[in-house]
Each structure stands twice: as C-alpha cells, then as structure tokens.
C-alpha cells in the first residue's frame, strides 16, 4: 500500500492568469507542487491548455492574508455609509451638459 501518511504533502499554490496583455491577472484555482518553479509549469499544463493565458502567477496559498467573512459588515462599513462618494448623490439640473 502507499505511504501517504509518512509522505510530506506538496504545498498548495494559488494560480492567477493574465488572459491577454492589458488585463489583470485573475484567480483561476489552485494546485500542489513541490516548489514555485514546478507550480508554474503545472499551472501551465492544468489551467492554460487552450491559450487561456499569456502570463501566470503562482502564490503559496499560505502567503495569502484574507479578510474574514464574519467581520464583513464591520470591515466594509466605512465605505458603505459614504454615499456622497458616488456621483448619483448630487442634485444637478438635467439641462446642463457634461456633468
């Protein structure tokens, strides 16, 4: 039988793909690899078999710091209450152009 219990599991990497020049890298999924170099090559084979990308990032999943869903309300509250940050907050006459 296999020896997975004693085997060290390869670390997890998050994969980001830039689909073409001019747009941002977007998260595509994750994969296991022994190191970053292998993660890049595996990401190419797993996530870009049909020309989905022209650039790849791989980031160790453990290096991602995420906001927590439980604190979502409090965390994003400062922007929620400031409706005057949006153009629709302002009353201006309809017939004045370029506003």
């Amino acid at each position: 039988m296999s020896q997975d219990q004693t085997e060290q599991e390869w670390p997890l990497f998050e994969v980001f793909i830039r689909s073409k020049q001019g747009v941002s890298h977007v998260h595509a999924g994750s994969l296991h690899a022994a190191d970053a170099r292998m993660a890049l090559e595996n990401a190419r084979d797993v996530y870009t078999r049909r020309n989905e990308g022209c650039s790849l990032w791989v980031v160790p999943s453990a290096a991602v710091t995420a906001s927590s869903p439980e604190e979502k309300g409090a965390f994003f509250e400062p922007s929620e209450s400031k409706i005057y940050r949006h153009p629709t907050f302002y009353d201006v006459p309809d017939d004045v152009e370029c506003l």
Binding site: M1, E7, E9, G29, L31, D35, V46, R50, A66, P69
Partner: protein
C-alpha cells in the same frame, strides 16, 4: 449549531446567494459537497483508464492526438475538482487515501471495459454526453469553487462529446464491419450510460436536501430524460439502433420512453462486482505507489533548494 445562522444560510442559498470557502455553512452542506466533489474528481481520474487503454492503438495519428488531448483534459478536470474540494477543508492526501483504500466511490460507468476502438469513441459520445448533461446545471451550484470548476470543465467537455460522435460517425458510415463495431459499442454502453444518472428519484434519499441547497438543480430522472431525448436523435443520425425493444416516443409528453433499467446490475457494479472494478483500482494503486519516489524526490529537491537560498541570504 446556531439556528439563526442556519436560517440565514438557508434563505441566502434559497435566494440564489453563493457560498464561498470561508463562509459559515452547515456541517451537512460541507460534508455533502466534500463527498460529491471528491467523488466527481475520482471519476475523472479513474475515467482516464478505459480510454487510455486505446491511446497506443488508435487507428490514426489524428485519432491518437485527439484521444491523448481528451484524456489529458480528464486529468485536468480531476485536478480542478480536487482543488475545489480542498477549499472545504479536506486535504488532497485524505482524498487520495479514500480512493486508494476503496472507501470513496467513483462513477461506476468506468468499471466497464473498452473491448474495441468503437468503445473508446462511444465513451466520448455517450459517457461524456451524459456527463455534460449532469454538469451544465452544476455551473450554477451554490458553492462558488465547485461552480467555477464546472464552468471550466463544461467548456472542455464540448470537444469530448463531439470528437466521440465524429469517431462513431466514421465507423457508422464505414464498411459493414466498422458499422457492426459501432453498433456493438452502442449495445454495450447504452444501458450503463443511462444508469449513470443514478437511481430513480423515488430511490434517491439525498436529492431533496441537495436541491434545497441548490447543489442539484434537476432530479436524476429529469437529467436522464434530457440525455435520452438527445441521444436517441443522435443514434438515428448515425443510423444505429438503441438496444431497447421498448423504446418509444410518448406522443403526449414528447419524450422518449425506455424499457426498465436493470438497477440490480447498477448496484452490483457500484458494490464492486463490475467487470473491471478490480482492474481499475489495481492500476490506480500501482500508479500511485510507483510515483511515490518522484513525489519524494521533488520534495527533497525543493527543501534543499530552499535551504541553499536561505543560507545565501544569511
């Protein structure tokens, strides 16, 4: 469990809200998804075997390239799905172990043999066709990572089914021997393909909860009917006969009705008595064990490189 939290979750999901990895979710929801997604991943991985069997014997270089690309896609599907399951807190090693020990199930369709080349293309047409029918609604699953993996998978599956149909067509329009080969494959794969959607609705205990949680969108029987209606027309286009003397169009509903499905056979195969269960598992275990030194060596190399670069930095 906090009943307020549960209520909020249920109404969020009922209103087509999506669930992401770190969100609170009922333990049952999590366990149901882990089971379903990992089984789905295992099916993609084991599913490489029946077709892989024909890569070295494909009838032309063109067919060989196509088959190789398709089987490689299935490996990719397995990996997308394992990574989606991992977001729920189960490790890759645990899932591997569950498959290798026989604890986890995979789709029982892959426990049938591919006796001729026609079987290999019939899989693309029928088994991938059935898989697409199943997977399209999963693109709207309430669990974000699973839904996103399914979008990627469905895009790729379209090629799988088309290459299968094209391969069947080449045989069906060929010599009488080739046509007989195509018919033989349809005879072998028809019933297992329609059983792939799982037991009938009145014998499918977990379905109602999965529907409420928007994991499932259609019942087993609804999906099966969709597939049958599609496949009957396609078989006609191929000039092949569906091996079911009771098959008829119900004029009232507009749906094709089949004769009774042999559920005893289905359960026997699920429980390990299919023609290839042992072979599939033996092969999977062998591949895993023989790859162990590669995994260990790669990890040892990575550790060493890291130590080197730490030393250089110090």
């Amino acid at each position: 469990m906090d009943s307020k939290q549960l209520e909020a979750f249920d109404s969020h999901v009922a209103g087509e809200g999506k669930v992401e990895p770190k969100d609170w979710m009922p333990d049952n929801y999590r366990q149901t998804l882990i089971r379903q997604i990992s089984q789905h991943a295992h099916s993609e991985i084991i599913g490489m075997q029946p077709e892989g069997n024909w890569i070295s014997r494909a009838p032309s270089l063109r067919r060989k390239m196509i088959l190789l690309a398709k089987v490689q896609d299935e490996a990719g599907h397995g990996l997308y799905l394992y990574s989606a399951a991992e977001t729920l807190g189960v490790s890759r090693g645990e899932m591997d172990q569950a498959l290798l020990s026989g604890k986890a199930k995979y789709s029982s369709i892959f426990n049938y043999p591919t006796l001729t080349w026609a079987d290999a293309v019939a899989i693309g047409w029928l088994v991938d066709g059935a898989a697409i029918t199943n997977q399209i609604p999963l693109c709207r699953c309430s669990y974000g990572p699973y839904a996103r993996a399914m979008v990627r998978v469905c895009k790729e599956e379209a090629f799988h089914q088309r290459q299968g149909f094209e391969g069947m067509m080449a045989l069906a329009k060929g010599t009488s021997e080739q046509k007989a080969m195509a018919q033989g494959a349809l005879d072998r794969w028809w019933w297992p393909s329609i059983a792939m959607f799982g037991p009938p609705d009145d014998d499918s205990p977990h379905s109602a909860q999965s529907m409420a949680w928007k994991i499932k969108r259609f019942s087993n029987d609804e999906l099966r009917q969709k597939f049958i209606d599609m496949a009957v027309i396609q078989a006609q286009a191929l000039g092949l006969e569906i091996p079911d003397p009771d098959l008829k169009l119900n004029e009232e509903t507009g749906h094709w009705q089949t004769g009774p499905i042999d559920w005893d056979e289905f359960w026997a195969v699920v429980k390990g008595k299919g023609p290839c269960n042992r072979q599939r598992m033996t092969h999977r275990r062998k591949a895993h064990d023989e790859g162990a030194w590669v995994r260990e060596a790669a990890m040892a190399f990575a550790n060493k490189q890291q130590q080197k670069s730490e030393k250089a930095a110090a």
